[in-house]
Symmetry: C2
Subunit: 356 residues, 2 copies
């Protein structure tokens, strides 16, 4: 009842004494590849087990100058895409013997406390999902030799790597799909206008439509937010020239838009309106929604992220690397089907037009 102190914990010296060896021997026992005789090692392990010893990662970090911790900054967890990413990141990092220090919420202000904390723990790498970093901060990381990977975002900035999918091609594919479905008027509910992801998706969509002669897209801003997406949907659906086809910048918003369409405007999907989303997130697959959506291959994206980190950590070279993966357009029930171009792969229906 006195205290307020955590119990000290067993140290390598205590184990050493118990095993009748030096502290160095204990250290070497727990250092893979170190020079230690099997017999000594066994003695040490026995003593360690008796005392309940575990190497102190903090002390180790201090001397190796490696924390084996990766900071992950992630916000917007209400979009199931990100929890999925997080779970996969956790899995892979553990496999590489790294720990995941999570920062939720955004890094927005300039001299950010979150960033400070992150640097104080001397993390070995940083993953930024649904968040960016000011240029000063990213340069500071580069200067400190800490690799930074943007997840599902990209930037021109030096020394910051990124993992994305071909958002522009994705947007284009969606445009082509809707055109092939025979639609004649088009709308778009955008994500955050400042995000590269949103810009690219829209650019591709617009290109595809423009090539077919459709230059007027009805655009409203949803900012990747449910409530804003609902508001945007209401504006679009209330128009006399309501579009026949609507691309919503991600599924998280598309779900909300579909509810507005059906329950506030009495629209039948896809008879009255076709809706296409992006991410192929959990709810997109639920029967109530069945959203036709561009897939983002989370597993491969996370693999790429981790591999960039591992590579840069072990080489010490922080040269920006940009991995861009392919997605697929999964066809479900939220949009009218084109006559051709739909193929079935592993039980999923994809849109793969067979042009040159």
């Amino acid at each position: 009842m006195d205290s307020g102190v955590k119990k000290p914990g067993v140290t390598s010296s205590q184990v050493a004494r118990r095993a009748g060896v030096s502290q160095s021997a204990v250290s070497r026992t727990f250092t893979p590849g170190a020079s230690i005789a099997p017999k000594t090692r066994a003695k040490v392990l026995a003593a360690a087990k008796e005392l309940g010893y575990r190497p102190n990662a903090i002390a180790r970090s201090l001397i190796t100058n490696r924390s084996r911790i990766i900071a992950v900054v992630m916000a917007y967890l209400e979009n199931l895409f990100y929890p999925d990413v997080l779970e996969e990141l956790g899995r892979l990092l553990v496999k590489e013997n790294y720990r995941l220090l999570l920062f939720t919420g955004f890094i927005d202000r300039n001299s950010d406390p979150v960033f400070d904390q992150l640097m104080q723990y001397r993390v070995d790498g940083i993953v930024l999902a649904s968040t960016s970093l000011s240029s000063e901060l990213s340069e500071e990381c580069a200067a400190a030799g800490i690799p930074v990977v943007l997840f599902n975002r990209t930037t021109e900035r030096d020394a910051v790597s990124s993992v994305t999918t071909r958002n522009r091609e994705g947007g284009r594919r969606i445009g082509e799909f809707l055109l092939a479905g025979g639609h004649k008027s088009f709308g778009y509910i955008s994500g955050l206008e400042s995000s590269s992801t949103n810009r690219d998706r829209f650019a591709g969509y617009r290109e595809a439509l423009a090539e077919a002669g459709y230059d007027d897209i009805i655009v409203e801003v949803g900012n990747y937010d449910r409530a804003e997406a609902e508001a945007a949907a209401r504006k679009i659906f209330a128009r006399p020239d309501r579009p026949e086809a609507l691309f919503v910048a991600n599924d998280h918003m598309a779900v909300a838009v579909m509810d507005v369409a059906r329950y506030e405007f009495g629209l039948a999907i896809p008879q009255d309106i076709s809706i296409v989303g992006y991410d192929d997130v959990g709810p997109a697959r639920w029967t109530s929604y069945g959203i036709t959506s561009m897939t983002q291959p989370i597993k491969r994206m996370v693999e790429a992220t981790v591999s960039i980190l591992m590579e840069q950590i072990s080489s010490g070279e922080i040269e920006a690397e940009h991995r861009i993966l392919n997605g697929e357009l999964v066809v479900r029930t939220s949009a009218r089907l084109p006559k051709t171009g739909i193929v079935e792969v592993d039980g999923r229906r994809l849109y793969k037009p067979s042009k040159s």
Copy 2:
């Protein structure tokens, strides 16, 4: 290009030299409440800024024997309840100047590597959500003076605290609600049968029904899993004596069950069947589902969790504490309404029968 080494980073000694003071002075500058003259402090801060110095949290932890890291073990992130919890935990811990080390996936086996890692980082506390801990492990934590809090689960085990809601009363309330709605036959789709949460919810439900003379509840196991819940729903809906009312142990499963009811069995909700869930998770609020559901007050649950941790950390006393909060039954459209007992509070409709 040679290297593979992280840049060493600025140390307190370098700052000290630059500022013309001792290393101690630098340390005291960054230690709140330490004895340092304002003038000296200013000099140090200036020098620190010039050099880009940040205290090394690792080195600090080593000597203070406090990592200011809380380990959070969480699985089952596809249930949006948990990402919500995680976000809130992150927010509160940062406010208390703690960091969040996340472990995804379950702790199942006995001598678990995850647990080892967690102990190696000398975390100051542990939060277990959607996961438990074997008795040996929890005792080991207690012995090491590390507080452990179970989130949304409980246990009889000494030295492990817990935060839950009144699941039994919740189940009972749901039973009463369905009875008041005039239903005559009842079903239950269970969560993990080993979880305290599931046991308590079902116990309360059964009690309420038994008191009204209904002893036969049709039960199928969903294990808190979407696919299993769908299978369970199919079994129940295919019965000739399909129940009029169905309590699904959480919303994550209830969503799946509703889709099966509507799209595979053509059932109208709530005309043909009433469905009630638990958690009041995001999708429960979406118009397509509108699930009548027992709320779990995430914010207050997280507050309780953090406050238990902070208290035990600062006192050094690891005495198991069990906080049990109240939930409310939010009434939406997935279940037939009783004639009385529905009140509106802050725009939400709640079921609050006015019995003694």
